[in-house]
């Protein structure tokens, strides 16, 4: 049955409605697209900031590690030495991404006082976002750099007399090693009184009025606190790091204790009140011995000469010296077992070097 054809009307309305829908759809798409782009830009910026924070955290981790590990395991790569901390923890950020942190220590040689820490944080899900920070740091102990690398014998006054020639062995790895350093001028430096080995004697090597500060990074009072902490903790003599001598340590006015080892040197301070104690026969010390008392008593020189003593490290006399004898042998630490590069007391931490922080 053929019905009557229905005449459809409203083409104009349909066109207008469709146009409106298309226009609204396009506008909505544009808005959504822009918003999405903006959001991605913001998220990337946030991620970049987070990666900076993660790299900063890595630097702090490296700094902390450097301040607690005395001997890093260096690997030679071209003309650099590289080392990694044991583990650097991964970090996650508020943006739900996590960062892998790679930390590297760099030094020119094992003796380097300044070590460069590089911390690189890379986002796990967005690998193109990463930040690399660099910073120089310096591990510190109670000794200054000069103290850790002190020549075998340092004298703040004059060397005017010895009984026989004390033997001094300087650092064999140095190009111009110093065996004897004095704070005074040449006229106080009687080179013929000592056996300088392969090294030289140097006048005006440090400031006489700042002898303690030349070798120690802490004050005498702070050194005493370190000593008291070890005494309070009842640490056995063989494991002590710091020692402030008193009259009970002497036997008939002589020092006879063997202290320190190549890997755990002793920092032995003989205060001024103890005078200039003689060393007993056969004494061996590893570390730095600092004598504050007067060792330049000219009236008694010769009758008060030291006995047989061998020091691996350094001896510092903060006065004139007349009491050294031919039985005294002072060797640089490299002559000790294991050949440590210098006197290595426990680390107190690592300090960042201002002016070296960079993200370039």
């Amino acid at each position: 049955m053929a019905g009557k054809p229905i005449k459809q009307q409203g083409v104009a309305s349909l066109t207008v409605a469709l146009s409106l829908i298309i226009a609204i759809s396009l506008l909505s798409y544009a808005v959504a697209h822009t918003a999405n782009t903006e959001q991605r830009m913001t998220m990337n910026e946030q991620l970049k900031n987070d990666s900076l924070q993660a790299a900063e955290a890595g630097l702090l981790f490296g700094l902390d590690w450097l301040g607690s590990e005395r001997e890093l395991e260096w690997i030679a790569v071209e003309d650099q030495l590289l080392a990694h901390p044991a583990t650097a923890p991964a970090l996650s950020s508020a943006s739900q991404d996590s960062f892998a942190i790679n930390i590297v220590f760099e030094a020119r040689d094992e003796n380097d006082s300044y070590i460069q820490i590089t911390s690189e944080a890379s986002a796990a899900h967005t690998p193109e976002v990463s930040t690399r920070l660099r910073l120089y740091a310096k591990p510190i102990s109670i000794l200054t750099d000069h103290g850790e690398r002190a020549p075998p014998l340092s004298i703040a006054g004059c060397l005017t007399h010895t009984s026989g020639q004390p033997r001094l062995l300087p650092d064999p790895t140095e190009a111009n090693p110093v065996s004897l350093a004095i704070a005074e001028s040449e006229h106080c430096l009687n080179k013929h009184l000592v056996n300088l080995g392969t090294g030289e004697a140097r006048a005006h090597a440090f400031d006489e009025d700042k002898t303690w500060e030349t070798f120690f990074a802490i004050s005498p009072g702070e050194f005493q606190q370190f000593v008291e902490e070890e005494q309070t903790a009842r640490i056995p003599d063989s494991q002590r790091n710091y020692w402030l001598a008193d009259s009970h340590d002497l036997r008939a006015g002589r020092w006879t204790k063997n202290l320190g080892s190549p890997n755990q040197p002793i920092i032995l301070v003989m205060p001024a009140a103890l005078g200039c104690p003689k060393f007993g026969g056969g004494t061996t010390l590893h570390g730095l011995v600092y004598i504050e008392g007067d060792c330049g008593d000219n009236d008694e020189h010769g009758s008060n000469s030291w006995g047989n003593v061998e020091i691996y490290g350094a001896l510092v006399i903060a006065s004139d010296s007349t009491q050294l004898s031919g039985n005294v042998r002072i060797n640089h630490m490299r002559y000790a077992r294991g050949k440590p590069s210098r006197i290595l007391p426990p680390l107190l931490g690592a300090i960042p070097i201002p002016g070296t922080w960079s993200d370039l």
Partner: protein, 238 residues
């Protein structure tokens, strides 16, 4: 049996009433739609302004973090000799003439890692400077624009070539830098500085940035941040 339906149209009155109602409804809908579009546009512009303001702050923050950096060679140089933390090269807060106080900051760092301060071709040549590049930077407010220093003979807020960072559609209303310092003893980092002894000067810079849309001044955005300068300044004697 087919029923014959009688088809009738609307009367003129019905059509007019219907059209009027439809027009009222349509005009209301259009108005609502327009308001929505305007609101969404405002929201978009605010979000863009916010994003731009944050980006400008972020750029300033990242740049200022580097202030005072010096390519350090421990075997050749003493860190105390860092030319980038000397008084004239380190952070200076000032203002361009006729602009609000503290609306300009000057700083420098060793971007080209050659150990020397790049002063550009027309800069003043000394033992610690080079004309090979420009490493004297700055940010300033200039007539509603945020600008970054590019070059110039004098390292100041009033001269040299500066590049505008914001788009023309954005007006910078306020740029304010505030400096906070704290000095620690060079040998004892846990202690404050004492007179006549060397120390390290730690610096924090607070930055406040207000911007608005040039076309719609009532759309404004103010953001602030603090930057702890990583590279401290060496003070030999206080």
């Amino acid at each position: 049996m087919p029923v014959k339906l009688r088809q009738t149209g609307f009367s003129l009155t019905e059509l007019m009433v219907g059209s009027t109602v439809a027009l009222i409804v349509l005009s209301g809908a259009i108005q609502l739609y327009t308001i929505n579009i305007r609101a969404s546009n405002d929201s978009l512009q605010l979000s863009r302004l916010s994003h731009d303001t944050r980006s400008m702050l972020s750029i300033m923050e990242r740049e200022l973090l580097r202030s005072g950096y010096w390519s350090f060679s421990p075997e050749h140089t003493l860190i105390q000799g860092n030319p980038f933390t000397q008084q004239k090269a380190y952070l200076t807060i000032d203002a361009k003439a006729e602009e609000a106080d503290n609306s300009c900051i000057l700083y420098s760092y060793d971007r080209y890692q050659d150990g020397l301060i790049g002063v550009g071709g027309s800069g003043h040549l000394t033992a610690s400077t080079t004309r090979d590049n420009v490493e004297q930077f700055g940010f300033r407010l200039n007539d509603g624009r945020l600008q970054m220093r590019q070059s110039g003979a004098n390292f100041s807020c009033n001269s040299g070539r500066w590049q505008t960072m914001n788009e023309e559609s954005i007006l910078i209303d306020t740029l304010h830098f505030e400096r906070h310092t704290h000095c620690t003893h060079a040998q004892k980092p846990a202690s404050d500085c004492s007179d006549d002894e060397p120390g390290w000067l730690h610096t924090r810079i607070d930055i406040r940035l207000s911007a608005s849309l040039a076309s719609t001044p009532n759309i404004q955005q103010t953001q602030s941040t603090s930057v702890d300068i990583r590279n401290d300044q060496w003070l030999a004697n206080r």
